[in-house]
Every structure is written in C-alpha cells, then in structure tokens.
Amino acid sequence: MTKSYEEIPLTPISDSPSTMNMTGLWRAFRPVVDISRCKKCTLCWKFCPDGAITLVDGVPVIDLKYCKGCGICAQECSAECIVMVPEGAE
C-alpha cells in the first residue's frame, strides 16, 4: 500500500524485520525431514542461507513461510534424512 508523503520518513529508513516477506511462496521444492533418522549433526541449520531452520533439541524445524527450497539442507545432511519433494506433491 502506497503511503502518503505525510506518513513516511524523510528518506527510506528500513526498520522492520524482513519476516514480512513470505519468501516461502517462491519455493518449487519442499524439504521433508525424516526426524527418526536425524543424527542432530546441525549441518542443515548451519548451512541454511535464509536462517529458516531452527534447532529444537538439535533437530531441525524448517519454517516453510520463508524456506525458498534451495535444497542445501538436503545436500549437506549427514544422515541423508532430508529429501526435496515438488511443491504440491504429497
């Protein structure tokens, strides 16, 4: 929504977290984690370019609102427990 010139600062100063950008909508492939095989190596978390993975007790939780589906987590997973599946597929 375009803001009136009266509502904006003098110059564009960005002060809001980028979590407003639903970059998960870009995704063509979705990471699916088989938690039962996870070795808690944390590599998926470490190499996620978007910081879209958080660790809960060492196990990844992928935030699909932001995951762009690059597949680095699946590529780097030491237990090979992440697979990329086409969006829309089960």
């Binding site: 407003m20 970059t23 470490k46 910081g51």
Partner: protein, 296 residues
C-alpha cells in the same frame, strides 16, 4: 541444548530477498555471528543492496548505510570519523561490498581507506561477476568463465584474463589483517571474523560467495562448490596477520575439474583448458605453501 560449532545467535531474519541458495546470505550470516550486534554496515550497490528487502524491510539485526557503488571505502571512513568525533565507543564499522564494487569501481576508495588506516573491516563477498545486474564480467571473474558479457560465441570470447588478485593488492597496502573465508567452512569463517574484530586498522576479508544463477548450477550445490574450491586449492583458506601468512585449511588437493564440472559457466572448457587451469592452481598453491613456510 545441542552444541553448535558456530554461535547459535542469529543476527539475520528470514525473508531476505536473495535468490534460493545464495552464498552471499551465508557470508552475511556467518560474518555477523562473528562480529555481533555492535556492528554498523556500509553497503554499496550490489546484491546486498537489494537483499534486505523493499523499504521498510531489513533482514539484518544491525544498521545499514546504503551508499553509491564506488563509495564503500569512503563510507566506512566517514562512519568511523563520526563515531570518533561523537565519542561513540564499542562499534565495529564494516564495509560489505561485492567483487565489482571492490576490485573494479570501488578499488580507489578502498585503497584510500586502507592507506588512511581506517579502523574498519572490509568484506568482499566474491561471486565473481556483476550478479545483481545479471552476470556481467568483473575484474574478479576467473579466466575461462562464461558471463553475459563474455558470452563465447563463434570467436570463443569467454573471459580471457585472469582474476584480479585482491589479496595481494590489499597486502601491498600493509594492512594489519587479511583473510580468505568460505561458506563451506563456517567455523573458520567465524573465527577469522572474530579475530578481525579484535584488531585495529583496516582489516580485509575475502569471502568466496557462490551464486547459483550466475555460476549456472543448481542452488543446493552452493556449499558443495565452495568446499570444492577449497579442496582443489583454487580458493585456499589463509590469513595474513601482521604480515605473516598462515594457511588455515590445507584441502585435499582434489582435481580442479571436480569444481569446474558442476558449474555451467565452465562447461565449454576443453581438456587442455582444464589442464591449464590445474597448472595455474598448482603453481599458486606451491607459492602459497612456500610463503607460509618462509613466514611471509
């Protein structure tokens, strides 16, 4: 709590508008893990001028001063002077620029900042071409690479010139610290960022930043290709601390063709060209080992 090998605290938010698999996202993420929240960034025109998102979005938990393309060296000098004048302490001033903004259009300002011994860290994230504008060659594009301005064609006009050696250029300025880092080795990366932070003067960090669209490869290979760059000795990890060179990761000595073959930008190279790259890499690696052993 699982123990992580790099600091768990994040200084980036999800929702950056970088491409899927962007190496430059990882560079920023690791850098800030090493530097912490008292960091002020000066960012010129480059992918990272766009990646924080449209106003009012910022994917970083630290402030950013956007500047003109060639102005990073001047920007960090201005910020540091203002904080000194105002008595603002405990602030890490960082210039964060791409390869074109560093080795080409921004080289003069960077050289000036280094000569003036500006108290700041300068990070070049090197995706080896003008990627934000759509993959045009830069002075940091390696020999033999395809880009949209070295498109090959009937005359085989690929990049004919070797990559500019920015580490040597920076070392020639007599700066206190220079290091290469890789997104495949975050622990080494964070450690070097922390070390740079602890020093004074102009510190320089050269980060290889794989670019899936520009390097013509699939996005899941970003970390793998960065790892191969180190393992093949094509992009060795080292630091020059007060003039002394130390290699921080020796790499396996994997043949360079393993690195080249997963990138479409090198797919046109024939065997003899690959051999010639291998020869250059071997020579440079031998020189680096020699420099390390001589303590220079």
């Amino acid at each position: 709590m699982t123990k992580t090998t790099i600091p768990e605290e994040e200084f980036t938010y999800p929702g950056s508008t970088g491409c899927p698999g962007c190496g430059a996202n990882l560079v920023m993420r690791y850098l800030l893990k090493g530097l912490g929240d008292r960091t002020v960034l000066s960012i010129p025109a480059c992918c990272w001028a766009v990646m924080p998102g449209y106003w009012p979005s910022n994917c970083l938990k630290v402030p950013i001063l956007y500047t003109a393309f060639e102005a990073t060296g001047a920007g960090i000098s201005g910020l540091r002077a203002a904080y000194d004048a105002k008595g603002v302490k405990d602030v890490t001033v960082v210039g964060f620029a791409g390869d074109g903004g560093t080795v080409d259009i921004g080289l003069q300002a960077l050289s000036g900042a280094a000569e003036r011994q500006t108290d700041a860290i300068y990070v070049m994230y090197d995706n080896e071409a003008y990627m934000n504008t759509g993959i045009q060659r830069s002075g940091a594009t390696p020999w033999g690479a395809w880009t949209t301005t070295t498109p090959g064609g009937a005359t085989k006009n690929y990049k004919h010139e070797p990559k500019k050696d920015i580490m040597a250029i920076m070392q020639a300025h007599g700066i206190p610290y220079a290091a290469t880092v890789s997104v495949a080795h975050p622990e080494d990366f964070v450690k070097k960022a922390q070390k740079a932070k602890s020093l004074k003067g102009l510190r320089f960090i050269h980060a290889l930043s794989p670019c899936p669209p520009g390097w013509r490869m699939s996005p899941q290979l970003t970390v793998e290709v960065a790892r191969l760059a180190v393992d093949t000795h094509l992009f060795p990890l080292y630091e020059i601390d007060d003039g002394r060179l130390r290699i921080t990761r020796k790499g396996k000595g994997t043949p360079v063709k393993e690195y080249l073959k997963i990138q479409g930008r090198f797919s046109h190279l024939d065997e003899s060209q690959v051999d010639s790259i291998q020869k250059t890499v071997d020579e440079r690696w031998a020189k680096l080992l020699k420099r390390e052993s001589e303590g220079a």
